[in-house]
């Protein structure tokens, strides 16, 4: 019996390790499909600055068909503290989104994806890293203390 419980405990630890690696506000794999990568380019039509995740709506035109994607980003609290605000992406801006589609794939009323990274067509990152995101420390971030 003790051995069985130990096996359960080890399995639990593995499960925990796996799930926490990809867990933010929610478990990534519960919502998105890692086997459904996307790489889309389109015009921003709407930005929802809401918790627990900001959402950017992108209109993609392909072969005469227009599809609107809702792209999930980070929590606005974190983005604001990293110097990212509503003016960073505004409607009309063209962006490139790489990420993964939702498992539902219904596209009703809009297709849904996570925004793993977002760039402008010329390669510049839309969300620039600050010293709080692992970029070199330059002393400009008040959180770099002592």
């Amino acid at each position: 019996m003790k051995n069985i419980l130990k096996i359960i405990a080890i399995n639990f630890t593995l499960l925990l390790g796996m799930s926490t690696y990809i867990n933010a506000h929610h478990a990534f794999t519960a919502e998105f499909d890692p086997n459904a990568p996307i790489n889309i380019t389109g015009k921003v039509v709407k930005v929802e600055w809401i918790n627990p995740h900001a959402w950017v709506h992108v209109e993609v035109k392909d072969m005469g068909k227009t599809t609107v994607w809702m792209v999930e980003g980070g929590t606005p609290n974190t983005l604001i503290r990293n110097g990212i605000n509503k003016k960073t992406i505004t409607p009309g801006t063209v962006i490139v989104v790489r990420g993964y589609q939702s498992k539902g794939k219904l596209c009703l009323p809009r297709c849904i994806a996570n925004g793993r990274d977002i760039t402008f067509p010329d390669g510049r990152k839309v969300f620039m890293g600050s010293s709080g995101t692992g970029a070199p420390r330059d002393g400009s971030d008040p959180r770099e203390r002592r």
Binding site: L5, A9, F12, T13, L15, S19, T20, Y21, I22, N23, A24, H25, H26, A27, F28, A30, E31, F32, D33, P34, I50, N51, P52, H53, M70, E72, G73, G74, T75, P76, N77, T78, L79, I80, R81, N82, R98, S102, K103, G104, L106, I112, N114, G115, R116, D117, K125, F127, M128, G129, S131, G132, T133, G134, A135, R137, R143, E144, R145, R146
Partner: protein, 325 residues
Amino acid sequence: MKKFLFIGLIVAPLMSGLNAEEWGNTKTWFGDPDLQGTWTNASLTNLERPDYYDTLIVSEEEARATLRMSEEFSEEVDNPYKDGESPQAGDNVGGYNVAWMDPGTDLFKLDGKYRSSILTYPEDGKLPRRYIRWGLEAYGMYRMFTVADHPEERSLGERCLVGFGSSGGPPMLNVLYNNNYQIVQSPGYVMILVEMNHDARIIRLESNHNPDNMQPWLGDSVGTWEGNTLVVKTKNHHPQQKFRAGIRHQILIMEGAEITERFTRTDENEILYQFEVDDDKAYKDLWRGEMPLRSADGEIYEYACHEGNYAMANILAGARAEERK
């Protein structure tokens, strides 16, 4: 009494910091030591000590190495593909770009020395887990990550009830982002607003615990002042809040656990936060930890989680799609 609390919550922030100049003696307008402000525990130091450190206190060189590792990891996470390349199907995607997160930028220092873990006891910096108990409780955790028949089965963070990990505490531990707290005091109360998910822990001063059948989110906390230190005792933890799992830590807090926290303002920009967890069902021994709460710039942005929680509908839709396969 409720009216007093309400007035205190409104007035106290306005009156904060108007008294003595030395922080050790600074009082609120009603005479309690002043802990008020917005604070953060964001740091690269985790609850448990990584295997590559042997000691609690680490050198400047080791601390710099940790920062380099963090930056290299960020670089790797942010740039897994060349420009124009698409993510590969089946990749371990890791979820998000690092720009979405805010884990902290350094190992924290106490007494001028870098720390490799929040844990100070046991001395090896590892939780003294009772693995058999953890195994017995594992099924509940397993269901939270795998079953999606209805919203109530999902994890507390996904349901916008409390933040993931032990962000709200007690003990209050650092997670990947939103590591911010606002402390507001009024006569007879200390309120700690936890940014994620907008949880307010109201600590009653010089009060008894509520009956044991009352088990609120974040537990039942009562406090007392020992000199300039606020000592908070919490028990009667919510039974659904046993597992607190995030990337930075995984802890198990049973309903009968007794947790003692100590808050001491050491200067204008820092509170020394210490805690002890006594939970003999889940652990073979006590465990203790300490870390600074450092002043944070700006105010807390409201975490109105339910209003924008598209994730829950997407998770349930995803589960239905899986069933159709």
